[in-house]
């Protein structure tokens, strides 16, 4: 019974060209564009982080000079990655959740529950959007600089409100999609069930 397990290779990559927005018309085109930008930011962010870290090693050994802004650049990148990623994850239903009880209930309960989850999550994200805008503004107001790069701190954290907002938007669309359409949707583009339907033995 357990012999047939295949090694999951690269087949679970998200194909951005197949992404369909939950928004109509021009808004949909913008949304697809944003999805693409998020994907590119994720990939570039990770690659830059690797090269930045290596460059610091090379600088230290080859040129006898640490890139003392390296740490701050990595901080900027990890914030960028996290907040571009939470929205991208929301689009594709990839946020971590404990679905054991959810999955065990009947579809008649699951659907309204999914709507509730999406609405509450969206509300929480919009709330955090508001307060992270406030936080960014207060940082900008205080004029705090990153010690090594000597650039304002708020430059590297503007991604927080943006990420929260886009995530909230995705969950709102998910709620709407669940109201308007049949089936249960984890996101506008993902129906429920893990992408690996082999053994749904939760």
């Amino acid at each position: 019974m357990m012999a047939e397990v295949q090694v999951p290779a690269a087949d679970d990559d998200i194909d951005d060209s197949k992404y369909v927005s939950g928004l109509p018309g021009i808004l949909g085109i913008i949304d697809v564009g944003i999805a693409r930008i998020e994907a590119v930011l994720l990939a570039i962010g990770v690659l830059l982080m690797a090269f930045n870290t290596i460059a610091n090693v090379v600088g230290r050994y080859v040129f006898g000079n640490s890139l003392y802004f390296s740490e701050e650049l990595n901080q900027a990148l990890i914030i960028l990655i996290t907040f571009a990623g939470i929205s991208y994850a929301a689009r594709h239903g990839r946020h971590i959740r404990m679905s054991a009880i959810f999955d065990a209930t009947s579809p008649a309960i699951r659907k309204p529950l999914m709507i509730l989850i999406a609405v509450v999550t969206a509300a929480a994200m919009f709330l955090l959007t508001w307060y992270s805008v406030e936080y960014v503004m207060s940082q900008a107001g205080r004029g705090r600089l990153l010690p090594a790069m000597q650039i304002p701190v708020w430059w590297i954290i503007v991604w927080a409100p943006l990420g929260f907002f886009l995530t909230g938007l995705q969950y709102s669309l998910t709620a709407i999609k669940n109201v308007l359409h049949e089936n249960i949707w984890l996101s506008t583009s993902t129906m429920e069930g893990y992408d690996d339907p082999r053994e749904e033995e939760v």
Binding site: Y61, Y88, H95, S99, I101, V202
Partner: protein, 428 residues
């Protein structure tokens, strides 16, 4: 307030909300009730950002990236083939190798999350193929990775040493005994598991086959050289070693093996970013939650209420164990150490307990707590990387927790498990 917070969190968690929501909700209730309204929620945002910002966390995405490249290409398979050529014919051999690899990698890299990915990533599919059940495999990976907390260098022990003023060198040495004991127990369990579930063994490889496996693994053997040699040789910090692995993996898979296209590189980087984001937002939300606990001085209230001041040594050690175990179930281990150690310090001092023993016990509890539901970074990482449901990731955990708690109790009654090596090394 505490009750409302924990109740809400558990409820949201069980209903199937995205895991960040229980943590965010817990912090929200905390902030609103502590500050009488929404006025200070920008500090909650500050704490979320503070949680994802620490420089040492950068090792996590870097190891995820390197491991993903290795797994998509040939490096990982060749390394595992090499291990299998030597242990494939032994009952439970693959499981024991996985546990050992997780322990060693975790010890060196200093990041249990990175271990889940870098070792668990390539080895899990192979264990599934070999016939182990997924819930066993996942629990083995997560729990073995956490042994790394006890093996030097251990960030938990460094923080404990600094906060309590205990010799970090002595702590490092004291961690080795319990760490190895746990690894031995896990290995025995793996063997029993393999027998009970009749996991098939492969035919014993000939020395010729082994030589061939060795030859095929020659290039990929550069990875352990970079990680172990680079870190212990003082060339790289763990984070830099991770980035060096990325570079080396790119070189092998794109130049030497020609396995990875630019397009796949892009897909790999993107998928690394995605996994990083879903784990890190939980780390951030967890930091905001820790802040509430810390600010409201909840541990002080709870511990004050149970009267630790009047306890005997064993009772104190048990109380410490339980406090750290419970704390780490919900809050980031480092924060738990920072908050709780100063509270216990006077009691430990007046009871004349050995601070090195206490540090070892605490580190062990931290390790257990990080692998224990409901909240645990390594659990989140496993879910995100392996894309398995939460329940399945934690379902195989109980036997491991039992073994870990067994060692924790042993350590209280037989402190020599930890102190033997310390006394040997630091004898006058």
């Amino acid at each position: 307030m505490s009750l409302a917070i924990f109740g809400t969190m558990i409820l949201l968690l069980l209903l199937g909300f995205p895991m960040m929501i229980p943590l965010i909700a817990g912090s929200l209730i905390g902030f609103v009730s502590l500050f009488g309204g929404m006025g200070q929620l920008d500090t909650m945002v500050q704490q979320i950002l503070a949680g994802i910002r620490p420089a040492s966390l950068i090792a996590v995405p870097m190891f995820i990236f390197a491991a993903d490249i290795m797994t998509r290409g040939q490096s990982a398979a060749r390394l595992i083939d090499l291990v299998m050529a030597f242990v494939g014919h032994l009952k439970g051999g693959l499981a024991v190798s996985t546990a050992t690899a997780c322990t060693l990698f975790g010890a060196v890299s200093g990041s249990t999350q990175a271990t889940v990915v870098a070792v668990g990533g390539p080895l899990r599919p192979r264990m599934l193929q070999a016939g182990y059940k997924d819930n066993f495999v996942l629990a083995l990976i997560v729990n073995s990775s956490d042994i790394a907390f006890l093996i030097p260098p251990s960030i938990g022990m460094i923080i404990y040493g600094v906060v309590s003023g205990t010799s970090i060198s002595e702590l490092f040495i004291a961690g080795i005994g319990p760490g190895l004991l746990i690894l031995v127990l896990f290995s025995i369990y793996s063997y029993i598991y393999a027998r009970r579930h009749n996991v098939p063994v492969e035919p014993k490889s000939s020395w010729g086959e082994r030589a061939r496996a060795m030859q095929r693994a020659l290039w990929p053997l550069g990875f352990p050289v970079i990680i172990v040699g680079g870190i212990y040789g003082g060339i790289f910090s763990p984070t830099e070693a991770a980035a060096a692995c990325v570079l080396y993996a790119l070189f092998l898979e794109m130049v030497v093996f020609r396995e990875l296209s630019i397009k796949q590189l892009y897909a790999t980087a993107k998928s690394t970013g995605l996994i990083t984001a879903v784990v890190f937002i939980l780390v951030g939300a967890g930091a905001a939650f820790s802040y509430v606990i810390s600010f409201a001085q909840i541990p002080q209230q709870v511990l004050g209420a149970i009267g630790i001041d009047d306890m005997g040594p064993y009772a104190i050690l048990f109380t410490i164990s339980i406090a750290f175990f419970v704390g780490c179930m919900f809050v980031d281990p480092i924060v738990v150490i920072l908050i709780l150690v100063p509270i216990f310090a006077p009691v430990v001092d007046s009871a004349g307990l050995d601070p090195v023993l206490v540090g070892t016990i605490i580190t062990l509890q931290v390790a257990i707590g990080s692998a224990t539901p409901p909240f645990g970074c390594d659990i989140f990482t496993a879910i995100a990387v392996f894309k398995r449901p939460y329940a399945e990731v934690v379902r195989g955990t109980p036997p491991f927790i039992v073994m870990l708690l067994g060692v924790a109790v042993l350590l209280i009654f037989f402190p020599q498990i930890a102190l033997f090596l310390r006394d040997l090394a630091f004898a006058e």
